[in-house]
Symmetry: C2
Subunit: 768 residues, 2 copies
């Protein structure tokens, strides 16, 4: 199902021609969102073919009862699921009493769908001949407002072509929806109230168990050839649905238009008892503006996003389309306005992976948001974990840890663990390291130390305590070892001394110790508060030190590489190149045991450590490890190619770097994994951004400055990106042979280019 139907275009995702076999894929690819809600590109009108309905509200989830074959002690009771929320986009369309339904139409021509990335809207147009032989032209436009983020707006135009007809729009709200991914076919929503007045309707419903109260709402305006129609609609309502009927006689080539405004208000943001009032207020704002003004605001909001986040690529329209698609979808998913929210692996584009937050956020997404938004956004992502520290401590306690040791969950919505495979839930503990690393990374990039005494240090202490307890002393090795873990390479489970995990564990302890020292000296009152809270002693710290200083790292003298784990060299070390292509992807072709004992690596593992801690190793060491591990890497995780692309670029292997880049940037658009219909790979999209900025651009922080070693794929004429570095915006334009830098504002910026210090004066293009 590799797709080639998306038409290359610099600023738009475009599909032409109606094909019911790709409806679900397109529903994913044309998804829209505004950080507070998002939805798949489901049709407004009825569609009786195969479809995957999804409209999601940020932070609203359902704790689906865990399903396992054999229960193990410590498994969580539930897996939080993003859940399909009540439908507000629905508009049934009847033409002379026959319902418009593309799946049953006699003919559909000129079908075109466009996701306009520049302006932030989704449109669709087609000519359909219904079973009553009437042909109508339909044009729709839809967007979720960035500014009024509880509201979406739809313009739906129907123009009869073959003669005068009676057209009825039936806009509706429907809370009688279901989730694709439900473990026990539970009911997820309880609808408590369905109300309407002459122009507005409201459905109040709350999620079962979690009791998120919501009000879904709508209001519509009708026009014929642009002239507003003021009829009082007939209404119809049931326990979970309410609809209005707007019939009209429409002459041939006249256009009947409905503007539908709808969306959700949630008790996370409003008083539970005032949801209908809140909905009315929101509707008033939107309706008073009208579709056209709201759309203008939308274009401006997206212009602002692109002003900072855009990456241009010259000479390769597919690459340009790919990178913008990634940047747009990241902004659909998370805008950083709300520290209670985070970045789900599928954003608002599907249900898979259910829970919202993985280590993806810290390892892959943070750099993107740090560089393309103001630094409060990145701080929000850190604060999210700080706010869940107590739950991380409880989680560790449930696994037998004590004394405030914190283990952050593998997957979570509210800080509680959701995942339930023992080899992941209990053993893929390196995630804890990424959360500490993000604190380090934030400070390195922003130079804002305030977060650490205020919040970060408590997190670092909890994490250090976990690692300190998680190792044990091996009498045999006379070192501290870490047994029974799963590293970033999930194709090995329950291994001993995963180098990456051991390394980041030691680093976490060292970094916590360093910051305890610094906070003690420079933030005495914070230090006093923290010590009182976490009750830490010199004896404990010295015990940490002993572990950090005596951590075991498996190493091969022969290969001069750190070993991914103790047993790696016992494997049958046949490289991927020599593996029969018919055997791939191994995660579909091989039984799990065979994968586990193979040398094949799902995503960067040792190399992930070399990515995080690049400064700790020489380029020669990186090269040795890259040449040892990459040949065994099957890149069957969407998070794999970006790290390898960055490292290949660092090693000056631009062809290889470009190959990896292609794989990550159009992963969904070209449906590499044949699963795009389930939703998009949102978190790996941030990896694509890193591939350009850190990979090709070679951006690093060195000596407290931005540093670049710009390179460019031979296939491109040029590319550019911007970075918000400590409140100065630097634009970087790389062409074949030279690089230009420009800094906004009125302050000069010193940077490092290819190892040389360069001063960029404001508003002055500097070419290197």
């Amino acid at each position: 199902m590799n797709q080639d139907y998306i038409i290359p275009n610099e600023w738009s995702i475009i599909e032409e021609g109606y094909n019911d076999s790709r409806i679900k894929s397109s529903e994913s690819l044309f998804s829209i969102g505004n950080g507070a809600m998002g939805q798949r590109a489901n049709f407004e009108e009825k569609y009786s073919g195969e479809t995957f309905q999804g409209s999601y509200i940020a932070g609203v989830y359902y704790p689906d009862k865990t399903r396992v074959g054999w229960w193990k002690n410590g498994y969580p009771e539930y897996f939080a699921k993003v859940l399909n929320a009540p439908n507000w986009i629905g508009i049934n369309v009847f033409v002379n009493d026959i319902q418009l339904d593309l799946f049953t139409c006699k003919k559909v021509v000129d079908f075109r769908r466009e996701l306009n990335m520049k302006e932030g809207w989704l449109s669709r147009s087609f000519k359909a001949t219904l079973i009553n032989d009437i042909t109508v032209k339909v044009e729709t436009k839809r967007f979720l407002s960035i500014d009024l983020d509880e509201v979406g707006a739809i313009e739906y135009n129907v123009t009869p072509i073959s003669g005068d007809v009676e057209i009825t729009f039936q806009p509706y709200l429907d809370s009688g929806i279901h989730n694709e991914d439900s473990n026990w076919d539970d009911q997820f929503w309880n609808t408590t109230n369905v109300t309407e007045n002459s122009s507005q309707a409201f459905i109040e419903a709350h999620t079962m168990k979690t009791n998120f109260h919501t009000c879904t709402f709508m209001e519509s305006k009708l026009f014929i050839n642009g002239k507003e129609q003021n009829s009082i609609p007939k209404t119809e309502s049931s326990e979970t649905k309410v609809s209005f009927y707007y019939p009209a006689h429409v002459k041939a080539n006249e256009t009947y238009t409905i503007h539908k405004f709808g969306g959700y208000v949630v008790d996370r943001n409003h008083d539970t008892n005032q949801l209908v009032t809140a909905a009315k207020n929101t509707l008033k704002l939107a309706v008073d503006l009208g579709f056209s003004n709201l759309l203008d605001q939308q274009k401006q909001a997206w212009a602002n996003i692109w002003e900072m986040a855009d990456i241009t690529i010259d000479g390769d329209v597919k690459a340009q389309q790919g990178i913008r698609f990634n940047i747009m979808q990241l902004n659909h998913t998370y805008l950083g306005k709300d520290a209670r929210l985070n970045i789900g692996p599928k954003g608002f584009t599907g249900e898979k992976y259910g829970g919202s937050t993985y280590w993806d956020t810290e390892a892959y997404c943070l750099p993107f948001y740090m560089a393309t938004k103001n630094q409060e956004v990145a701080k929000s992502l850190l604060t999210y974990r700080y706010n869940q520290l107590d739950k991380a401590i409880e989680n560790a306690e449930s696994l037998g840890f004590t004394n405030g040791a914190a283990l952050y969950p593998m997957v979570t919505m509210n800080g509680e663990e959701c995942h339930n495979e023992w080899e992941i839930t209990f053993e893929e503990i390196h995630r804890n390291g990424a959360i500490a690393f993000a604190i380090f990374n934030y400070y390195r990039f922003t130079n804002d130390y305030s977060y650490i005494p205020e919040k970060g240090l408590e997190v670092l202490i909890g994490i250090a305590r976990f690692w300190h307890q998680r190792v044990n002393f091996s009498e045999d090795k006379q070192k501290y070892v870490m047994l029974g873990v799963t590293g970033p390479n999930e194709y090995e489970n329950n291994i001993n001394n995963n180098w990456y995990t051991n390394y980041i564990a030691k680093w976490c302890i060292d970094y916590a110790l360093e910051n305890i020292e610094k906070v003690k000296e420079e933030y005495a009152s914070d230090f006093k508060r923290i010590v009182e809270k976490v009750n830490i002693s010199e004896a404990e710290l010295s015990s940490w030190r002993k572990v950090a200083e005596n951590m075991y790292f498996p190493y091969s003298e022969k290969h001069e590489v750190f070993l991914q784990q103790d047993g790696f060299l016992d494997k049958d070390l046949v490289t991927v190149e020599n593996l029969d292509k018919s055997q791939r992807p191994i995660n579909q072709k091989w039984s799990w045991d065979r994968i586990l004992r193979s040398p094949y690596i799902k995503q960067a593992d040792v190399l992930q450590g070399f990515y995080f801690f690049e400064d700790h190793f020489s380029t020669e060491e990186l090269e040795k490890h890259f040449d040892f591990y990459e040949p065994f890497t099957v890149h069957e995780s969407s998070l794999s190619p970006c790290v390898h692309s960055i490292q290949a670029a660092k090693l000056g292997r631009m062809e290889q770097a470009y190959t990896f880049y292609l794989r990550t940037s159009r992963l969904d658009l070209d449906d590499y994994n044949k699963e795009v219909e389930e939703g998009l790979h949102i978190t790996s999209m941030a990896g694509t951004w890193m591939s350009i900025v850190e990979g090709f651009g070679g951006m690093r922080i060195q000596e407290d400055k931005l540093s670049f070693t710009p390179q460019i794929p031979s296939q491109w004429e040029g590319y550019s990106f911007k970075v918000n570095f400590r409140n100065q915006v630097l634009k970087v334009i790389v062409n074949q042979g030279k690089t230009h830098f420009e800094v906004d504002g009125n302050k000069e910026l010193q940077i490092i280019v290819n190892g040389e210090k360069v001063t960029i004066s404001p508003n002055n293009l500097v070419t290197v």
Copy 2:
């Protein structure tokens, strides 16, 4: 819930006093069976309290759709489940229209339950005062006929004590039953026909999916004070139930009796279309004999079983009761008449563990059946696996193996794998070794080589091929290694080079090679047939040899022991003795990851290898390994204590051996694991037998002879057992200080006692 309500008695399991909190435990403990069917000790009359209903037909199962959290390639589609079969024991009892139900009675006194092990029947008696204040005395007796193994019989007596009453017996059949353990609440039975005539009733039903057709049947006889009553009953039937009403006026102190005959005929043994006819034939045989004669037959059948299988223990009634309970339950479960059947871990006493056959059969049960039955029974157990060889080859193919490699399933009913935890299903592959070992063990004990050229060699070849492909050559170690396995100690998963697995793998290859050689030389026509079938070449055999000769065995020079697996010495080696008691059992107190990285051993692992291959090692080596591993062993498997008991005895540590013995022999009677209500641990009961015969008695095969090194726990006055060795029955009587041997028949038998050859002449007690 440690039980102390079972009254010590040499030949009976007795419970006195009615207590509704122990109903489910007693339903397990008083279970009965005849090898072809079995049932929990559910009451015949209605019981509205908590109960676990179970009546099971050997070989009739349901493939319950697998339930997992995260599907892995290679998982089986279903887990075969023993399933609760239609109820034929039910007899509702009404006294003046009030239904007898012990849970609602005003008073229950003199409640007594007895499972008479000597004679093979279950009885119950009590006086109950119903809510209408009428008091009746009830006495019941029930057995499943060994001789007519499709039939069970019940005698149910009611004697009114407080005055004349109207009593109605309502014997019924009911196929509207359910299973406790169902993954998806599927319907398991489809009832197709409910028929009755004036005295008999039949329910035809088949299992869903597997389509085992059965006919459940009943016929009753009524008596007052022993005088047969010939009334025509009123009948009542529905889609899944049929019952007869036998009302009678019964005077005070008169006894109203029903003899109910019932059971199952199955299309495994009869023509599908002739099941009702078969049921009628069976009923005729039983009813013509009558309850009393059938019971006499039963007593004789059990006398025959005990004649061969009994173990006596003098001076310790609880030990005596315990060992007989084990022997009886093994005989309830499997009598060896049908090579399609095998020994389920819970026999016919519960649903847990679902599938029928585990490696328990070969590793633990075979020795018991070899020594206490004629050798055809043991051969049936081997043939069971031979008949499933094709499925084992398919199973291996589904995991990527080729060329006729066979992997026997972890759990099976029909040869297909049922289990679905990757760390067990795909990795606990040592089970394959036990199946080969059983062939060796059978030949060693019986001297019947014929099985190997006829059937066994094909099994050995399939297994050797599996091991040959399952290892890989480690460049690093320059040896063949086996990565990613779970050994007998299921508290370690996905480990590398489990010594036990590597050792038995090498042994399997060697043993297959040895037998290929022998069959080639001595059974030329069999050899030709086999070679044509399995297509084996000298080149393949030489490749096997290379693996066997270069297998890697982890070893510690320092401790002078083979290591359970590569990483064992890195563990935090705190012995069980030094583990806080509040932390045990660890399988209830610890999360799974913590168990995995601990040094604690669930059941014999390295020591299992020393048990199987005792001759390969010196006693000093055994002692070193025992002293190294036993202190880390938590014995949280019912299969653990017996092996350790045997080895402790071998090392002359009789106190320790006795402690282990106690733990195994009354595991269920004293409910060590607080779970007896789920059913009995049938397969470990064979381990109990081994603890006495191989442990205390020290029985081995040496130089082709039975050999003994008799010891006796200081707590006992004496014990005795019998062994059927190559069609000669040897009785061994061990007292404090001396041992007596006696051989049946007219042939002398040479044995070895404490290393010395001793000749036992027939029918002559020889004292050593």
